[in-house]
Subunit: 433 residues, 2 copies
Amino acid sequence: MTAELICVGTELLLGDIVNSNAQFLSRELAELGISVLHQHVVGDNAARLRELAAQARARSELLVFSGGLGPTADDLTKETVAAAFGDPLRFDEAQWRRICDFFARMGRTPTANNRKQAMVPTRGHAIQNDHGTAPGAWFEDETGHCAVLLPGVPREMKAMWAEQVRPLLEKRQSCTIRSRTLHVLGGESSIAGKAAPLFEGENPTAAIYCKTGESEIRVTARAADAAAAQAMCDERIERFRAVLGDAAYDTDVPGLAWTVVRALKERGLHAATAESCTGGLVAQRLTEPPGASEVFGYGFVTYAEAAKQALLGVPAELIERYTVYSGPVAAAMARGALAASGAELAVAVTGLAGPGGALPGKPVGTVYLAGADARSRTLYLYRLALGGYREREVIRARAALWALDALRRMALGLAQPDAVRAGFAAPPDALDI
Amino acid sequence: MTAELICVGTELLLGDIVNSNAQFLSRELAELGISVLHQHVVGDNAARLRELAAQARARSELLVFSGGLGPTADDLTKETVAAAFGDPLRFDEAQWRRICDFFARMGRTPTANNRKQAMVPTRGHAIQNDHGTAPGAWFEDETGHCAVLLPGVPREMKAMWAEQVRPLLEKRQSCTIRSRTLHVLGGESSIAGKAAPLFEGENPTAAIYCKTGESEIRVTARAADAAAAQAMCDERIERFRAVLGDAAYDTDVPGLAWTVVRALKERGLHAATAESCTGGLVAQRLTEPPGASEVFGYGFVTYAEAAKQALLGVPAELIERYTVYSGPVAAAMARGALAASGAELAVAVTGLAGPGGALPGKPVGTVYLAGADARSRTLYLYRLALGGYREREVIRARAALWALDALRRMALGLAQPDAVRAGFAAPPDALDI
């Protein structure tokens, strides 16, 4: 099946907002095995909308519209598409009652304009909107070409898509779709280098989405029923895991912090953080998941040298001898955080996020990361070279991600092959990496 | 002038990435007074690209393309548009040298494919790319309709637009454009309520972009020269400021933290943070601006009650009597942060970010914020009701923004009309707001 996307809205033409609806709908259609050949944006203009609807209907089997279903005279999508598909609109009492009920729940009264929103296709059908006032619509012409109309508000559009449109399209495609997302540390090239063949094939499909320092691999399978589709996803995910090892940290989570908090909870562990250049970012990430308070109690943002001494007991001589950006200082921060918090695990970060401040042999982007495990009295020390990422925010975000991963590895007892490992009693020189 | 945007790329049709180029170019064209009537996305497909280029050329005066300028056989934009505009491409030695030099700087060697990128219009001209390999192109037909071709990589596209395309279009529009952005705390409706008339008019234009808890008002003026355009912007910005008062916190900054850090620096002040529900977000924001270390040394993330007692000296009885989400505890946290850091100013945040944990009379979203000023021994206490924003992340982000604003107001000596004000010696009951 071929499809075409038409987003209606002057705010898109003016660049006031980014067209996130187009991305969402395109991805969903791709997962359904429907080829999107065109995306368009037009304003609330009858002539241009009419011309575009006619062109699109002639060349594509499915037209997906978003926007232009509001109550004002400007909102023309439904009327224009009804005319293009030769399906006159009729007033629907049941829809009108739904709209009135919706307004009542919000403590408001519909206006006469809202009656326009209760107009539905005669041959086609309305698409119920449980999240706002404007119902959507489904039109179909004599050649079997269809148009589905959804509101422009992303929240309403996405809910109606998931609840009503996607199931309809799955039925037309005679299939059920399931997706799973594997979360992997590292960028596209490192992942592609190891797992390239697993991205091939039409069903399941696997697509990679890059984020800062990590990637998501979304596996989507089409099958006759949900169990079969799920099994196909699971099988592919396992193959990715086998190749990617413990860089693949979880599936279907909002982010690494969720994995870390769950790992700590399951093992009854607690973590503390000591941060300089990340300025609280590690703690902030770690407290994103609800219930983080069960495993995290103490975070130290020791931006000043005096704070490192006063709160974490980092000796002034250590800073003087090795500089504040150094392995020995990171290690002392991590051990100080353990001592001050009573946690079993701690991570500490100190480094140069830039743009200024470079030292001889320590360019901007040099970040020292220490993990400390009170149970085994072991230190894990990393020296990260993040200068290639240039921007301060990116350097900080990548350093925080490494810190969370060091916590994950300590909590789960995973190897830390990139780290220098030392005991708590190691002399500072051994930590000067 | 009317324009049409054509973005070329399969990754857009698959929904792999959001079309941020379309937003950027649409906004830029709007500021130039050029009406964008259509946006399109097509894949790297010769027939569809040809059909679209012909249609667009017939109806619009300016066509802006992004994407499809790479070295592979798939990359068809330049060849297709050259044919549509009847302007044959020729190999350009100078461009080829630039491409070879660019590769040399990256330590790489161009392939034979890259020669394709040195093809330039015969009647039109190349648009130099100092940020990548693919030069852009400018075509013009006998009717005066133009096409400008830019790479799809946002960084390269934006730089080439700013350096070369925008000045060309300013000349064609016989004007110079200047923009300024006013940063204002609060949402669109509160701002529109006070400043609606200032958003009217064609030159300068004023557009509002909403962010979490704050808004940006972008004022854009067209004039014969830069000084005149700048003066028009300045004048409108001043009128906004006059109406919006100190909710308008700055112009042309990346965010509120930049304003706060500058205010602290200028006055030789230091700030400390004490955070519970925001989990380090206030400290992280405050350390986003380079040079924050001059004004910020100590941040306490006291997520556990024991941490509030141990690090900030909050009495256990206070927590027991008023609960940890309370004005007296927020005040004690702020004063504890002052004592432990030696800073002149501190902010503390404690509250319920949810989703669970509501107490009687304290639903999710109830956040207590305390500012403490050691110079005047004054406390500023806020009780925020952020439950309407529902999501944990939004509640945390809004609470952090309030905290930064409380710091700004203390640093600049501005009124804090929404706060309860008390002296350091006030009894806890007086702080139980």
